[in-house]
């Protein structure tokens, strides 16, 4: 059944695809919330990488990858909360959540 040289490669490829999807979402969509969703997807794919390396790595009992993933989930939750708070705040200011209309930082 094995199509990949190693099971790890399968997980890594899934993570890569997911990362690309997240990046594409963050780049092509105009709504800030979808951009945030894309960023969450990228974070998740990174977590998948961490866990996969933990599982197939030489020292799973050291728990390094797992700890990274747990802490990263926590940080991602904080990031989501702050990001969405910012979006809501920006929406109140500009009455839009479309990113290409929010260009006050223009140089």
């Amino acid at each position: 059944m094995t199509a990949f040289p190693s099971p790890l490669v399968g997980y890594l490829l899934v993570a890569a695809v997911l990362f690309a999807i997240g990046l594409a979402g963050a780049l092509v969509r105009r709504n800030a919330i979808i951009v945030l969703i894309g960023i969450e997807l990228m974070l998740n794919s990174a977590n998948l990488n961490l866990i996969a390396f933990w599982r197939f790595g030489p020292h799973p009992e050291a728990l390094t990858g797992m700890m990274f993933a747990i802490l990263s989930i926590a940080v991602a939750a904080a990031e989501a909360a702050v990001g969405l708070g910012l979006i809501i705040s920006i929406y109140r200011h500009t009455n839009t959540a479309e990113l290409d209309k929010i260009n006050r930082l223009k140089g």
Partner: protein, 166 residues
């Protein structure tokens, strides 16, 4: 590497794709929830029970709810008149494809270098707890601090307007 993996990978990727392609924001949010769930199941598939359930709890229980709330609060549930994609979506897609190409190529190139170990790690929740308050206690504390700061920050950012208008 078995059927379950392929199924889960398919669900996850489909969820992710749907999340960025669906026009309706709420649908996108629900689709991304599917992707989150798929990743949680992939974690379970990787024998990381604790992380998997944590993923469920945090992402489906909290982040997804947060996202839909944000959508409703920004009136995102109504479709915008001009399209949902930005004008230069082609360049964006090319860039994303480029990133995928680079990462995928890197993965496939290093097949020989990746570890081949394939026994189930004997790690219990107890070990995770011990590691969290033992060797990794400093990161844990820092994350705790960060979460506190983020919570307060989010509240302040979202509340400021109301205060001013009073």
């Amino acid at each position: 590497m078995n059927a379950v993996f392929y199924l889960l990978a398919a669900i996850t990727i489909a969820g992710g794709l749907a999340a960025i392609l669906l026009k309706h924001l709420i649908h996108a949010a629900l689709a991304v929830t599917v992707a989150f769930g798929g990743i949680a199941l992939l974690f379970l598939q990787l024998d990381a029970q604790f992380v998997g359930f944590a993923q469920f709890l945090v992402y489906i229980g909290a982040v997804a709810i947060l996202i839909v709330f944000a959508i409703l609060l920004t009136h995102g549930a109504e479709l915008p008149r001009e399209g949902v994609f930005s004008k230069s979506w082609i360049t964006a897609l090319i860039i994303a494809a480029g990133v995928f190409a680079v990462t995928g190529w890197a993965v496939l190139q290093s097949v020989d270098a990746v570890p081949q170990r394939n026994t189930v790690p004997a790690v219990s929740v107890h070990d995770i707890g011990n590691a969290l308050v033992g060797r990794y206690v400093l990161p844990l504390e820092i994350v705790g601090l960060l979460l506190t700061a983020a919570t307060i920050g989010a509240v302040i950012v979202a509340m400021l307007e109301k205060e001013r208008s009073r």
